[in-house]
Amino acid sequence: MTTPLLEVDDLQTHFHLPHGTLRAVDGVSFTLDAGRTLGIVGESGSGKSVLARSIIGLLPMAQARRAGGRVLFAGRDLRQLSESQMRQVRGRQIAMIFQDPLTSLNPVMTVGRQIVQVLRQHTDLSTAAAKTRAVELLNEVGIPDPKQRAGEYAHRMSGGMRQRIVIAIALACNPRLLIADEPTTALDVTVQAQILDLLRRLQDRHAMALILITHNLGVVAEMCDDVAVMYAGRIVEQAPVGDILERPRMRYTHALLQSVPDIDTPSHARLPVIPGQPPNLIAPPVGCRFAPRCGFRQDRCEGEVPPQREAGAHHRFACFNPAPEH
């Protein structure tokens, strides 16, 4: 067995707030092999973005605390690295792109200079060589007329074009892992299709692993090899994408998939709903966190945390009363 590129083990990230401790990520474990795509799906507040930021050590608030666990990247525990060591990993080995491409870009610097800056920071290219490389990168991400575009500012570009620029910056140093947090959520559907296609092609060419964070199950179905479903700070089910979509076991995954109006669902079909709201993560339910909303809960679901169970080679889920296997 080869060592995975990334191994996250019992990761916990908490926020110390005036009225209590918010357990945003509460004991998450998964592995990711080189070149693979892992989708992390969940609704707002499930902890998927905090998980991503915990991996690269960019936590959003001063109140955030690394409460435990390990993040092994190529054998090194990223949580033990100093900030200056971490800066060497970020950008060069792990890159991240965010939902809103405009706020990720510097408004007063041409996009070309932003790429040159990254290249100069992380490689020993000369300024002239970095400029040439920047134009190559813009060309690679499908920016028409890349030489001229390199001299322009982000505000002159469309949303799709900006996200291409952000991707070019992320790929500048050939990272081994790209973390994309809702990369297409702010884009129109035709542009989303283009950006997803671009990510797919670049990933193949650079043999890069990808963590794709999204609430859109369709995007997961199109893009991912494996999927982890998050609910209230925990991974409740993880499996290859086909298993998740066709044979979900955990009741939340099952219900979530049913409630999506897909373009292949007949019109006016009654959508099965999940009643209620996700729990408050300051005082989450003691047992299974989905239990209060679950139509299949048993007595012990409310008192005991369901352990991860195996269903086939790479399929794990946490449920006492799972959906039957078909």
Binding site: T190, P261, I263, S267, P272
Partner: protein, 340 residues
């Protein structure tokens, strides 16, 4: 330009009929943006008409033009037998009471300083209906119909409720005047998937219970399919195609509709197995729209004629109710973007 003409308008039975609506906004440097360019459509009593389009297609401008909020620059809107755009003062207000709106962001469309009971009672107060006790009665009953307990949450303020609950409050507020037409502008776009299904089901239920007619605007093709009887597709201020839902999704005739449908990620996993033809380019700036058909710059089927001549909307033979504004509509058996 992609889609003018009125061939698709129904002769009778329309609760609302909008004809040749034009709405122009001023932009910097004396330039003008035509957000809505000669759009006509009608809504039959009792149906749900879905409107889909990407950003800048004019779908929200259309909703506002229909309600005269603000009125379009030109065109005509007939609602419930009255001329919406000629009406003034009390007559216009009374027409608007019969058409109510639900907005995208449930939190910002509710006054944060007001209690839920007062928010839902506001339309009744403005319309001068009933005594305080009668209004309270209607409000509590309507909140009950959207699945909220007014006694329990009525004294709270919007920020104390979840997004889904706020959207239920918005729907209750739209219903207290017992309107005939409900205009929903992206009502579930800000909600999580599990809550989105609750609100979609609620809209279907209230539509049946209150005998409503609905105009439902969304960028999400799955959501629009689930709720609509007919669907209109808009692009850059123009109507491209309008058809019964099943007909449109099974056999889109406008190359833009086909491109849109092919772009939606589906739950059927198809990574690396099937590469749909990629949509070309991005929507051009509304300040500088292409001549002729506005979609031609991205269209796989475009010819010289598309640059010269704006296609007029026309009926598709053999599929009743299906209309398209295209010189080279795809054939019925082609349902992908690769339409010739």
């Amino acid at each position: 330009m992609a889609g003018s003409g009125t061939a698709h308008l129904q002769r009778d039975g329309a609760l609302l009929s909008a004809q040749n609506l034009v709405r122009t906004y001023k932009a910097k440097g004396g330039r003008r943006v035509q957000a809505l360019s000669d759009v006509s459509l009608d809504i039959v009593g009792g149906e749900t008409l879905g409107v889909v389009g990407e950003s800048g297609s004019g779908k929200s401008t259309l909703a506002r033009a229909i309600m005269a909020l603000p009125a379009p620059d030109s065109g005509a809107v007939a609602f419930d037998g009255a001329d919406m755009l000629a009406a003034r003062g009390a007559a216009l207000r009374s027409l608007r009471h019969r058409m109510q709106m639900v907005f995208q962001d449930p939190l910002s469309s509710l006054n944060p300083a007001h209690r839920i009971l007062d928010i839902v009672a506001m339309p009744l107060l403005v319309a001068g209906r009933g005594t305080a006790a009668e209004r309270r009665q209607i409000v509590l009953e309507t909140l009950g119909r959207v699945g909220l307990d007014g006694e329990q949450i009525g004294h709270r303020r919007p920020y104390e409720l979840s997004g889904g609950q706020c959207q239920r409050v918005s729907i209750a507020r739209a219903l207290v005047l017992r309107p005939r037409l409900l205009v929903c502008d992206e009502p579930v776009s800000a909600l999580d998937v599990s809550v989105q299904a609750q609100v979609l089901n609620l809209l279907e239920d209230t539509k049946a219970a209150f005998a409503l007619t609905m105009l439902f605007i969304s960028h999400d093709l799955g959501v629009v399919k689930s709720i609509s009887d007919r669907v209109a597709v808009m692009y850059l201020g123009k109507l491209c195609e309008i058809a019964p839902t099943d007909s449109l999704y099974a056999a889109p005739r406008h190359p833009y509709t086909a491109t849109l449908l092919a772009s939606v990620p589906s739950l059927k996993p198809r990574r690396r197995t099937q590469q749909p033809q990629m949509p070309r380019g991005e929507t051009p700036s509304p300040l500088d729209v292409p001549s002729g058909c506005r979609f031609r710059t991205r269209c796989p089927a475009a010819t010289d004629r598309c640059a010269r001549e704006e296609p007029q909307i026309r009926a598709i033979e053999g599929t009743p109710g299906h209309f398209v504004a295209c010189h080279h509509p795809g054939s019925a058996d082609v349902s992908s973007a690769s339409a010739r």
